[in-house]
């Protein structure tokens, strides 16, 4: 029988070495993202019954475990999803907020300069320079509307790019996750279970954090050690060894725009509405930004552009120019359209290019719903009935709506965008300064007739926008304020979510992070243990020598 002191010393030497190795690994990975502190679980070996008593038999290293708390880790994931939601939202909204309220780049100064130029024209109606100034400022205003529309458009295509990036990132991560699940549960790699394969588990947690930045998830651990991943609304992303692809798909509510869907079976995709993904990572942020804040801004800018254009067209046509010709349209408008939000029929929309009467331009957007009795028109998102008709074509508020193709069924809904594209399409239709109708029509009384110029200058003071409830400047200030309020809210909530994310990370790191002081202390401790074990070995050796010496004696 071997000397038990020798084997005990050996076991101590082994475990001390294992502990030293683990400590070194902790030190080495102190800055590795996602690394979880490891430690060697030591167990005393079962004692041996020798000479009528139980004698200890050394120590063994049971396993190397991670200092890990799944609750804390899941908290990091969920706070990360919310924090990145607001960060991404802010990132996408801030440039527009800045642009809209800028005292030079915003629309307000351009509207005012146009008004000023008209006021100048009212004093020198026959002055070519004053006329040219009006045209120059009208062009400046139109170009600024174009510029704002272009910026909104670029924010939209930026959002499309972000959606694709998010989708790709999620798909890549879920594919890798399936592979990691497979390796973690693969028996031939060694024992399975949540305590095995620490580095693979770290990698998987890292992946899950990465997904959380893109979209909010729930992770459900399985008995075999694999992780199933679901989106916050229950849609599966990874189940066992299968990943379900996320993709950008046409929205069912509006086939003209995209949304995000998840594969839910062969050839079947479940798509999301933005409201399903509020607070849910960058993906949720991009979808909500694009479909709510940006769309709302786009619609309001278009409504403003269309109203301004149509009101000035109306007034300009009532005047007469220096050549004695009746005024023509001053600005061009966009292309009104109907979007089928439910059903298969396509509708056409015609909107007058000049306001029927002051403050009555139907800037929209409107909701049209088909019922058993006919068609009902409402302001978008409003319940009050504006007009109804038994059949199409219907004419309401100056808007003509007709069937373009297909058949309308009861229950179908449409969004009537009467001002669509107005800001982008706005152009000044007059190039010759003499064609400005500064005089009152229908016949020219004299070059000094400034009456129509006076009236046009006054249009900026009249309540022409938003169904005659606001001036054009007020309408613009209103949309800037409403966008800014959303940004302010995103900033405030975002700061709170950042703080929660930081706390969650700190709490997780408190358990799982590497503290170098602690590791230094452990290094000394295990070094001493190693030295002591070596001493035991040496003693065991010398004991053996003593016995040999006796035998030789």
């Amino acid at each position: 029988m071997a000397n038990p002191v020798y084997s005990i010393g050996l076991s101590a030497l082994h475990t001390a070495r294992a502990s030293l190795q683990t400590t070194s690994n902790n030190v080495a990975n102190a800055n590795t993202p996602g690394y979880t502190r490891q430690r060697v679980e030591l167990v005393a070996n079962p004692g041996q019954y020798i000479g009528g008593m139980w004698m200890g038999a050394g120590v063994s290293a049971e396993q190397v475990t991670r200092s890990y708390d799944s609750y804390l880790e899941s908290n990091v994931r969920s706070t990360s999803a919310r924090s990145s939601y607001y960060a991404s939202m802010n990132e996408q909204m801030a440039p527009l907020d800045q642009m809209l309220s800028d005292s030079e780049a915003g629309l307000a100064p351009f509207m005012e300069r146009f008004q000023s130029a008209l006021s100048d024209l009212a004093q020198r109606p026959s002055d070519t320079a004053a006329r040219q100034l009006v045209l120059a400022n009208a062009r400046g205003l139109a170009e600024r509307f174009n510029g704002v529309a272009a910026q909104i458009d670029s924010a939209r295509s930026d959002a499309e790019g972000r959606l694709n990036d998010s989708v790709n990132a999620i798909n890549q991560a879920t594919t890798q996750l399936v592979e990691l699940n497979r390796q973690i549960t693969d028996q031939s790699f060694g024992p399975t279970g949540v305590v095995a394969k620490n580095d693979l588990l770290d990698q998987r947690d890292n992946l899950l954090r990465g997904i959380s930045e893109q979209v909010g998830i729930n992770v459900v651990m399985q008995d075999d050690g694999s992780a199933n991943v679901f989106m916050s609304n229950g849609q599966a992303l990874v189940v066992g060894h299968q990943a379900f692809k996320v993709s950008v798909v046409p929205s069912t509510a509006n086939p003209d725009v995209t949304t995000v869907g998840v594969e839910a079976g062969p050839g079947r995709t479940v798509s999301f509405r933005p409201q399903d993904l509020v607070g849910s990572g960058e993906l949720g942020a991009t979808l909500n930004f694009r479909d709510n804040a940006l769309n709302d801004l786009d619609e309001r800018i278009d409504a403003l552009a269309a109203t301004l254009a149509a009101e000035f067209n109306r007034q300009h046509q009532q005047g007469v120019d220096l050549t004695g010709t009746a005024g023509t349209e001053l600005f061009s408008l966009g292309a009104p359209r109907a979007i089928t939000t439910s059903g298969t029929a396509r509708l056409s929309v015609t909107v007058p290019t000049s306001s029927p009467a002051a403050g009555s331009f139907p800037a929209g957007p409107y909701d049209l719903s088909a019922t058993a009795a006919g068609f009902e028109l409402r302001a978008a998102g409003d319940s009050a009935l504006l007009a109804s008709s038994a059949v199409l074509p219907m004419n309401a508020l100056g808007v003509t709506i007709d069937i373009d193709s297909g058949t309308v069924a009861s229950g179908d809904t449409f969004r009537i965008e009467t001002s669509a594209g107005a800001a982008a399409a706005m152009r000044v239709q007059i190039a010759d300064p003499r064609r400005l109708a500064a005089a009152q029509g229908p016949t020219l009384t004299g070059a000094g007739d400034n009456r129509n110029a006076l009236t046009m200058s006054g249009l900026m003071r009249d309540k022409l926008a938003e169904a005659g409830t606001a001036t054009l400047q007020q309408s613009y200030a209103g949309l800037v304020g409403s966008f800014a309020t959303q940004v302010a809210e995103v900033k405030t909530v975002g700061r709170a979510q950042d703080a929660l994310f930081t706390q969650a990370k700190a709490a997780q790191q408190e358990v799982s992070g590497v503290n170098l002081e602690e590791e230094a202390a452990n290094l000394i401790r295990f070094q001493q243990a190693f030295q002591a074990a070596s001493q035991v070995m040496k003693t065991a050796g010398s004991l053996f020598d003593e016995v040999l010496a006796i035998a030789r004696g």
Binding site: A30, E112, G446, G458, V480, E510, V514
Partner: protein, 312 residues
């Protein structure tokens, strides 16, 4: 509480970033002089700023309009002053022409003088402003409003009015369009009222007609009396127009004062809404600076503390 090595560095650098962002914000505020850097900093105030800035700009425009209106009124008023004195000297001529001791030749001389005054009057009625537009032409201000026809000798036989009968208005505030030009038809009676030129023409023709009989004399006397009456009502007519212009100038003074006052109020309001409180900003700047420096020095010291240093 355990703190992890990575977390210590991560949270330290996050804090530095936050401190620096705050510092940068104060620096941006100070360099722009503005409290709000974007609308979302204070959406409600930003909306008011946007509208107040426009109101301020329009105020400037209205002040410019008022200046221009004043210019027009002053020029019109001064022309009408000359018209009044011309009419008064014409009246003296008419009175002197009534003297029974005058010969036909004397009356012809007076008539010539009267015609000279009529030419002067025509010039005044066709006065132009600094931009070359006619002051008494209504809307047709690019064409001479009072057009004479002349006989072979160059004497005026009729004076026609080709302007319009409209009073031209300018906007001097959000709510007020003011008449700044009275049409010549009103002042000189080309359409209703007393036709000043016809009155002077009639008087000149009466004086140029030789008198030989008592009947002739009576006709001439009656013509002169009639002309004097018409001249008096012409004077009233011009005076009414002048008075209206004087009232207009007074009203303009009122508007200018109101606009200037509004501009001051708008400036104050804009300043309250938008401008930075420099004292507060300076305090915050030094606070943020101190905070950043403190965080830096704490980090520099704490990060040097390591048990590993003791293991050497």
């Amino acid at each position: 509480m355990r703190t992890s090595h990575a977390q210590f560095f991560e949270s330290s650098s996050a804090n530095f970033a936050l401190n620096q962002a705050r510092l940068q914000r104060v620096v941006d505020q100070i360099s722009s002089g503005k409290r709000m850097l974007t609308a979302s900093d204070d959406p409600v105030a930003s909306t008011h700023v946007l509208l107040s800035e426009r109101a301020k700009a329009m105020n400037t425009q209205y002040q410019r309009n008022a200046e221009f209106a004043r210019d027009q009124l002053t020029q019109g008023e001064s022309a009408l002053g000359d018209v009044t004195s011309t009419l008064q000297s014409a009246r003296e001529l008419l009175l002197s022409a009534g003297n029974s001791s005058l010969s036909n030749a004397d009356r012809r001389t007076i008539a010539r003088e009267l015609r000279g005054q009529m030419e002067h009057m025509l010039g005044l009625a066709n006065s132009r402003d600094g931009s070359g537009n006619y002051l008494f032409a209504g809307y047709r201000d690019d064409a001479q409003p009072f057009v004479p026809t002349r006989d072979a000798n160059g004497d005026i036989t009729t004076v026609g009015y080709v302007g319009t009968q409209d009073a031209v208005q300018y906007e001097v505030s959000d709510t007020r369009d003011m008449s700044v030009r009275t049409p010549g038809s009103t002042v000189f009676g080309a359409a209703g009222g007393t036709d000043v030129f016809q009155m002077m023409l009639d008087a000149a023709v009466a004086l140029e007609t030789p008198v030989s009989t008592d009947a002739d004399r009576l006709t001439m006397k009656n013509a002169l009396a009639d002309a004097t009456n018409r001249l008096d009502s012409s004077l009233d007519q011009v005076l009414t127009a002048r008075t209206a212009m004087g009232a207009g100038l007074q009203e303009l003074d009122g508007w200018t004062a109101t606009l200037e006052l509004e501009a001051v109020q708008q400036d104050r309001r804009l300043s309250e809404l938008r401008d930075l409180d420099y004292a507060q900003a300076a305090t915050e700047l030094s606070q943020q600076q101190t905070a950043l420096e403190a965080a830096q020095s704490v980090f520099a010291r704490v990060s040097q503390l390591s048990l590993f240093d003791m293991l050497r």
